[in-house]
Amino acid sequence: MADSVQDLLTNMSNALVERERLARPLVVKISVQGHRVRSGTLWRKDVVIAAEQGFPELGEARVTLAGGSSLVAQVAGRDSGTNVIAFRLAGGPDPAPLPAAEPKAGALVLALGAAEDGASVRLGLIHSVGTAWHSRAGGRIDRRIILDINLGHREEGGPVIDSGGGLLGMSTLGPRRSVLVIPSATVDSVIEPLLSEGRVERGWLGVALQPVLLPEALQTVAGQSHGLIIMGTSKDGPAARASLQVGDILLSVGGESVASPITVAQRLGPDSVGQQIELRLIRAGAPQTLQATVGVRPPK
């Protein structure tokens, strides 16, 4: 009798339930007094990660593990650049790690989050997969993984797994309620600095930049059609110390021409801190070259 009721849908449903069962130990509920409950992912023994943008300033939170036990967790560090906040627990379980997964557009995925008791599950597709990108806050995300899925605020920060049960990364709410994945590789790259330093250092110049179309007369001088106009400088920041001024038009940073903010972000990764960097710009219609020392981007 049991054999005869097996069919495609039942098999698929059973497989989904099985994937959820294997991933559930990674899903935690994070409670902060006076705020809504959030989801997190037990990344490894005694380390929980969650979506940074969902948390107020805080020092500790209560983490409820999949088994139902709850622990006080300390905030080890947070990085708005990659939307990762790391919590440190003591005496938590050692979860069986899930295998790494390769994102493929069209593949089925499950996004898990914390429910009142246990985990909630969403099923959807990988909508698209792209190359590395930079967030508004300056972080580099290794892959652009967009899901065709709905996700509530409470569920953000939970693990996203593929049909093989492999871990793709952490779910994140993007613009207009789109759902992204912060890939495991990105989480792994920030977790050590978050645990040891409390933050991820990125290069900083202390300037506010806006893309600008160069007037024709200046295009010849500059050798390019676009630049980034300086709309503001931070007092005593690296740019101000290098005597950059509001109204200067930045043409290149470290020898690389900058027509879009992305090129600046690429040039100011974690390794750039402390480096001397050449800034080519146009001031009062004439090209100039200045040297700046890259500082450390302050927390937002």
């Binding site: 006076g34 967030s135 652009r144 993007g174 300037v207």
Partner: protein, 181 residues
């Protein structure tokens, strides 16, 4: 005239609930300050005000400060101002739900790769001057250019930003991404 025409400055019967006597006293003082009558929770109040720690089964709508319980008609942050608290009490009594206006949640955004509209340095200056509400003449004086040139730049801004008015141009121009590095 119906009572609705009397507006919202009604005197309400409000019950205050808090687990801490100090907090309860502070909330009670606030309620009294706005001219409402303090009553016991059991005395069929029009509304209840709580700090979110004291819970009793109530038939009256509740305004809670800092509570994460979604069922409450009114939820305010713990540091809500007295005016917000009074407004929330008035609103829940007439059957409305009150939530604080949140900082718009944009989600985790990418840095724009291609800015749709790229302005020239002069256009950016003119836009900033328009944002201060200056007339073409005043903009011209400030930037040391002729009013004709200003008009030219303003038209160019309207075209590039798809704006039909100066205000719209300023609003759309403000959305242009300024990135900080």
């Amino acid at each position: 005239m119906s009572s609705a025409a009397a507006g919202l400055s009604n005197r309400l019967r409000v019950a205050v609930l808090a687990s801490d006597a100090g907090v309860e006293g502070r909330l009670a003082a606030l309620v009294a300050q706005f001219g409402h009558e303090l009553v016991e929770a059991g005395a069929s109040p029009d509304a209840c005000l709580t700090d979110g720690t004291a819970f009793v089964a109530l038939s009256a709508p509740v305004v809670a400060l800092g509570a994460a319980v979604e069922d409450f008609a009114g939820i305010l942050p713990p540091d809500a101002s007295p005016i917000q608290i009074d407004a929330a009490l008035q609103a829940v009594v007439v059957g409305l739900t009150v939530r604080p206006a949140q900082r718009p949640h944009h989600g985790f955004e990418p840095m724009t790769e291609e800015t749709a509209v790229v302005l020239t340095p002069r256009e950016i200056e003119v836009l900033a001057a328009l944002g201060k509400g200056l007339s073409n003449k005043a903009v011209a004086r400030q930037l040391g250019i002729s009013p004709h040139t200003v008009k030219f730049h303003v038209e160019s801004l309207f075209r590039k930003l798809g704006a039909g008015s100066r205000a719209e141009a300023v609003v759309k121009g403000l959305k242009q991404q300024i990135c900080e590095f």
